[in-house]
Symmetry: C2
Subunit: 363 residues, 2 copies
C-alpha cells in the first residue's frame, strides 16, 4: 500500500512492524513465505531498474538465497502466490541477464494475473514489464505494456507519477526507434505532469531527455535550450548526481559548434560537479572532451579513455565517442585519421551484441 503510494518511510516502517509481528507467529509457513515474497517485492519495487552495467550480481546473495528457499516451497503456492513467484523469479533472471528465462517466468506470471484482483497491482505488473522489455530492447512489447499500465493509472489521479513515467517509457522507446518527434511529444507530456506534481528530479530529467532528442536530430539550438532548463532545475533542487551528465551534453554540443569559450565554461563546471558527485565515469568522459577539443587532439589520452569504456563494456558510449573523433578529423580534412576512427566505430559495433546496450538513458 505504502509502497504503491511511493511513501518510502511509511513502507519501511510498515515492513519492520510486520517483521516483528511475524517473529511471534512461528507456525504458519505460508504466511512466512508470503512475507518473504513481499519483502522481495519491497526491494524490487522501490528501486528503479538501474543500468545493468552498474549492478553487481555477486553482491546480491540475498536474492538467490531467498529464491532457493522459495523454490523448495513452490509446490504449495497457488493463485496469487504463484503470480508473485513467477514475477519475482523473472525479475531475478532479468538481473542475471538470462533474458530467455526471464521471458518465460514473466509470461507465466501474466497467465496468473487473473488471481490479482486489484487493478493497480495489475498496472504495477504491466509497468515493470514495460521497463524490463525496454532494457531488453524488445521495443514494441515495452510500448504495449506501457499502454496497458497507462490505461489503468490514467483513471486514478493519485497515480499521476506513474502516468508520467508511462509517457517517459513511450518516449524512450520512440527514441530507440529513432522516431524523435513522437519521443519529444511524450517527454513534453511527462514534463508538464512533473511540473504539476512539483517533482524537480523528474522535471530535470525530462527536460534533459528532450534536449537529448533534439541533439540526436542535430537540432542544436532547442537542444541547448532544454539542457539549460534541465541544469537550472537540477541546480535549484541541489540534485548534484544529475548535473555531470547534463553539463557534459551541453559542453559537447558547444565544442562541436566551435563555441570554445562557452564550452570551456560549461566544461569547468561540469568537471567540478563530477568531482563533487564522485562520478568516475563522467570524470573520464570530460577527460575525453579535453583530449579531443582543447588544443590539438591528444590521441594517447583518447585511447586511454576508450580502454576505460571498453573495460566497463560501455560499447555504446565508445561507439559515439569514436564517431565524434572521426567526424572531428573529417571536418578538418585529416582524412587518414578520420578513416581510421570510422573503422574503429565499425569494430565497436560488432561488439554490441543483440542491441542490448549496456547503458541506458534514465526513464
Amino acid at each position: 500500500m505504502y509502497i504503491r503510494r511511493f511513501s518510502i518511510p511509511d513502507a519501511e516502517y510498515l515492513r519492520r512492524e510486520i517483521k516483528e509481528e511475524l517473529a511471534r507467529i512461528e507456525d504458519d509457513q505460508d504466511l512466512h513465505l508470503y512475507y518473504s515474497l513481499m519483502e522481495f517485492r519491497h526491494n524490487l519495487m522501490l528501486e528503479y531498474l538501474e543500468p545493468l552495467e552498474s549492478q553487481r550480481i555477486e553482491e546480491q546473495p540475498r536474492l538467490s538465497d531467498l529464491l532457493a528457499d522459495i523454490d523448495k516451497k513452490q509446490a504449495r503456492l497457488t493463485g496469487r502466490l504463484d503470480y508473485y513467484f513467477n514475477f519475482f523469479r523473472g525479475m531475478y533472471e532479468l538481473e542475471c541477464r538470462e533474458y530467455l528465462t526471464a521471458i518465460q517466468f514473466f509470461k507465466k506470471a501474466e497467465s496468473k494475473l487473473f488471481f490479482v484482483k486489484d487493478r493497480i497491482e495489475k498496472a504495477e505488473f504491466y509497468f515493470k514489464m514495460s521497463e524490463s522489455y525496454y532494457y531488453m530492447k524488445q521495443t514494441y512489447f515495452s510500448m504495449d505494456y506501457a499502454r496497458q499500465a497507462y490505461e489503468i493509472y490514467n483513471q486514478h489521479t493519485t497515480y499521476n507519477i506513474r502516468v508520467l513515467q508511462c509517457h517517459s517509457l513511450f518516449a524512450t522507446n520512440f527514441l530507440d526507434l529513432k522516431q524523435y518527434d513522437e519521443a519529444i511529444q511524450h517527454f513534453k507530456k511527462a514534463y508538464a505532469m512533473a511540473e504539476a506534481e512539483q517533482q524537480p528530479q523528474l522535471m530535470g530529467r525530462t527536460l534533459y531527455n528532450i534536449g537529448l532528442c533534439f541533439n540526436s536530430q542535430g537540432n542544436y539550438k532547442p537542444a541547448i535550450d532544454y539542457i539549460k532548463r534541465a541544469i537550472a532545475v537540477f541546480e535549484d533542487g541541489k540534485i548534484i548526481p544529475s548535473l555531470p551528465q547534463a553539463y557534459f551534453l551541453i559542453t559537447q554540443i558547444h565544442y562541436k559548434l566551435g563555441n570554445m569559450d562557452l564550452a570551456r565554461q560549461y566544461h569547468n563546471k561540469g568537471v567540478s560537479y563530477a568531482e563533487e558527485a564522485e562520478d568516475s565515469l563522467y570524470i573520464m568522459e570530460y577527460e575525453f572532451l579535453e583530449s579531443l577539443y582543447v588544443n590539438e587532439p591528444d590521441e594517447e589520452a583518447i585511447s586511454k579513455c576508450f580502454d576505460f569504456l571498453k573495460a566497463k563494456m560501455m560499447y555504446a558510449d565508445l561507439e559515439d565517442f569514436a564517431l565524434d573523433v572521426a567526424k572531428y578529423y573529417h571536418e578538418r580534412e585529416n582524412f587518414e585519421k578520420a578513416s581510421a576512427y570510422f573503422l574503429k566505430v565499425e569494430e565497436t559495433r560488432q561488439q554490441i551484441q543483440g542491441g542490448v546496450k549496456l547503458y541506458e538513458i534514465e526513464v
Copy 2:
C-alpha cells in the same frame, strides 16, 4: 489437416471441395464465417512470410474486404473463432506494419488459445508468432515462441520440417544478436534434418546461411566452402531463383580477397542466373560489384545503384554497400573518399528505423 502436412495439392483440392459444399448450404452464417476464416488461414499458412519489402499491400484487397466482413460478425464469435479472429487480424496488422496493433491482437489470440485443443494447432500459432516477431526484431520473444513450437513439433516425427524451421528461427535470431557460433550450430542441425528429409531448397538455403554467418565473422575460407555447397545443391535441384544470391556472396568475397579471376567467373555466372530469374534487384547489385571492383571504381554507377536501393527503402543493403566502398578506399589509402563513404554509412544508419530492416534472410 493437409495444410498442416504441407501437402499443397491435397489442401487445395480439399478447399475446393468444401467451397462447393458450402454453396449448397446457405443458412448457417457461422459456418460461412468459419469457412472465410479457414480460407484466410489457407492463404496465410501456406506461404512463408515474404520479405516485407516485396509485399504490396494495395494488391491484397481480399484481405481487407474479408476483414470488414469478419468485423461485422465478430460479436457472434466465441472461443475458437475468437482465437482465429484475433490471430488473423494480428497477421493483417503485421502486413500493414502496424506493429503495436498486431501485438495487441496476437496477445488476445494467445489468451484464447485455451480453446484450441489440438496440440499441433497450438504449435502452428507459436511458430507463426516466432516468425512474426523475428520480422519485428523482437528477438527474445521470437526465440521464446520458437522454443514453444519446437517442444511440441519435436514429439511428432511427421513434423520434422517444422522442427527444422524452428532451428532456422533460433539461428536467424542468434544472427541478429551477432552470436554467430550459436547461429551456425542451429543452422547445422537444420541442415542435417533437411538432408534427411531430402529437401533441396531447404538444404541449399541452410548451407547458404551457414556461409553467411562465417562471412559475418570474417572467416572467408569456411564461408566460401559452404556457399559452394549451397550452389551445388541449388544447381542440382535447378532452383534458379536462389542462385543469384548465392553467387553474389561468393563473388563479393573473392573480390574482397583480391582473387580477381575467380571473382570474375562467379560474377558472370551470377549475372546470367539473375537474368534467367528476371531478378532486377540482383541485376542491380551485380552492377554495383562491377562498378566497384572491375577497373577503377565508377562512382557515378555506384551512386545510381545506391539511388535504386534507396527508392526500394533497402537501407540495410545500402549501408553494407557504402561500408564496402569505404573499406575499399581505406585499404587503397584513398582516405578522403574512404571518409566520405563512411559518413554515408552513418547517414544511412539514421534512416533505419526501429531496427526493422526492410530485407531479411530467408528462414
